[in-house]
Symmetry: C2
Subunit: 354 residues, 2 copies
DNA sequence: TCGATTTCCGTGTACGGTAACGGATAAATA
DNA sequence: TATTTATCCGTTACCGTACACGGAAATCGA
């Protein structure tokens, strides 16, 4: 492996000499630490400009020996569930930026328990990190939390979905409306569709931020634009009870002997898939979201035809990088809202997705 | 922005103390510089493992004061063509790793002129970089070149496609066979397909590496497995002459009044698209590859239904990162062959692809 | 006017590595 | 046994920046 010597690099000493001051003074100017006469200051700044001095980041990081912590606020989860991919992203990001002396910590809370969320928020504010990444679940609480962060000048990034505040440093996530629209396109696929089943889960939503609502709008818009005659039948299932799912779906499909078009707009399409498997139903086209292990398994074994997915791991990595760029290099993110790509997966390309 | 002091970080001195040697010895072990007894070596390695020592790359870069150059060998191109995305990746990677004092340089050659390729290879060997990334076009020449690189211990990574040598450091690219297979699936999409048109371009292939051959195999395998009765009609067009394209395609489609299934297995599907637009033909389903500007335009305006794409920019970034990890941190790549995902694009999700 | 501040600035050391240098010890040779 | 040679390893001088410390000069107050 060949190496090239760093050619004539300007150091802080060169600047000091050229400006007729000591490196201490140059450093004070560089960091606006005061205690420098206006005259020296100007002289130093001029010399820096003339020589094109750029501080050596390695030396700087080494000498300052600070390290930064970025905390990622995501719900607890079991292996293979939706958030595991995000979690994988956190780990990956942690590994990547550890070289910069930046630590990335996951902070988990129970998404069904608002107190647990409040608790972790408090903890974070107790000993504030350099930046926060947050997947919002509880709207009001999250807004209160980020207001605190703003007040303390701590940048935060939304991932997965974002809330209606304006102080966030950036957002990385899927365009929800369009994902619903696309989903309808994939589901119907130019075919002669008379009826689609929109399977939803019963969920007591009190103050929960539910981005899939936007997605549903996109889906329904597509349907009414392209298939105005088709009916969209809502089917509400209870995710807890498999027996009840069978009952509900049996009833919904009772009179329908045609090819069935079934869609779920959240990550739980595997529930439908396992129903279909149990009942050995094959004449249907099922589309869902997100690459949970169970969903991918259903893709492979054929119950689910397509999954629309996003690389939540990559999103997280991007979010962390954006924060690091800002915190260490003072570089702002190119664009605040980053709508990441929607991936269309079937059994042929899902193996290459990871 | 808060800062945290680096808590108990393991340094080379800690390792030295724990292993009962001097940091000089630890450094020799770290860099395989020899002059260390097997006993000390093992001891040091064990301690490193136990303590989880990770060299501070800032200190390392500062002390070693060298800078590295990575050169990327890709064909010349016009804006919007296939290689522009790769080129974008090079720029992005260059920006990312500049923090490490690593420079990334594109090196371009004329893909229709073997001498120009030989010329840049010579130039590179004249003043060898720390690593090379190469998109192989001329098989024999490339093999000769990489053999030279191997001999000099310079790691090289293939992107886009790879050749049948074994010394490459890594490969980042699409699984070509599977991409053809997937393409057929997307093209036929469960429908009653009797005939597909496989449009190809006339190309004098002498020693050219043509990865789309593998893709074609995948495509044809899918067809014979799923649509054994369907015919695949090859249509050879001349990319230079639009008038001739019209003629050829007119003739090919002359007797066919059904919905037409058309596919191109390289990035030139926009040629077919513009023919269809000129002739105002709409009853067809066209699938192609790669996100050239023209292809995406055809996707938006409807002549092309699906594009199968890969993030060649991301591939390049990954390749550069892999080299940097190796060159600077001595970290080998997790897996040698990295088959990146195949993206399915239509007019609804293509906007979010960049 | 003279000590007390305040303002400004140079010096020195630490940061965690790298690598040249030369010394000590053991092995090989005469 | 004396001497060369090879092997192994500790010492030390950096790398470029950050920042504490203390001193000199300038300003101030009475």
């Amino acid at each position: 492996m060949e190496e090239h010597k760093q050619e004539g690099k300007i150091t802080i000493n060169d600047v000091a000499k050229a400006a007729g001051v000591s490196k201490g003074t140059v450093d004070r100017v560089l960091h606006d630490r005061g205690e420098v006469s206006e005259k020296s200051r100007e002289k130093v700044l001029r010399v820096i400009e003339e020589l094109g001095f750029k501080p050596n980041m390695y030396a700087s990081m080494l000498a300052s020996r600070k390290h930064h912590i970025i905390q990622c606020l995501i719900p607890e989860f079991f292996t293979g569930e939706f958030w595991s991919l995000t979690d994988k992203g956190i780990a990956e990001a942690a590994d990547l930026v550890s070289r910069y002396g930046v630590e990335v910590q996951p902070v988990r809370y129970d998404q069904y328990n608002i107190e647990s969320f409040q608790k972790v928020c408090e903890d974070i504010l107790q000993n504030p990190p350099s930046g926060v990444i947050i997947a919002p679940m509880f709207r009001a609480e999250t807004l209160r939390f980020v207001r605190e962060l703003s007040a303390r000048g701590i940048p935060y990034i939304y991932v997965d979905s974002k809330l209606e505040d304006d102080d966030y440093f950036a957002y990385f996530g899927m365009p929800m409306y369009q994902s619903g629209y696309l989903c309808a396109d994939i589901l119907t696929m130019d075919q002669d569709v008379k009826k689609v089943y929109l399977v939803r889960i019963a969920r007591d939503k009190k103050g929960l931020s539910d981005p899939t609502l936007t997605r549903r709008t996109g889906f329904l818009d597509y349907m009414s634009e392209h298939y105005p005659a088709a009916t969209v039948q809502n089917v509400i299932i209870d995710p807890i009870d498999a027996g009840k799912i069978d009952e509900t779906l049996d009833e919904a499909f009772a009179d329908d002997h045609q090819k069935k078009y079934i869609v779920m707009l959240n990550s739980r399409v595997h529930l439908v898939a396992s129903y279909l498997k149990r009942k050995n139903i094959t004449d249907c086209r099922v589309v869902g979201f997100d690459v949970l292990e169970k969903n991918v398994a259903a893709l492979r074994s054929g119950q689910v035809k397509y999954l629309i997915a996003q690389h939540t791991d990559k999103q997280t990595v991007a979010a962390v990088n954006a924060l690091v760029d800002w915190i260490i290099l003072g570089k702002t993110v190119a664009q605040k809202d980053n709508y990441t790509q929607m991936d269309i997966l079937n059994n042929l390309n899902c193996d290459y997705y990871m």
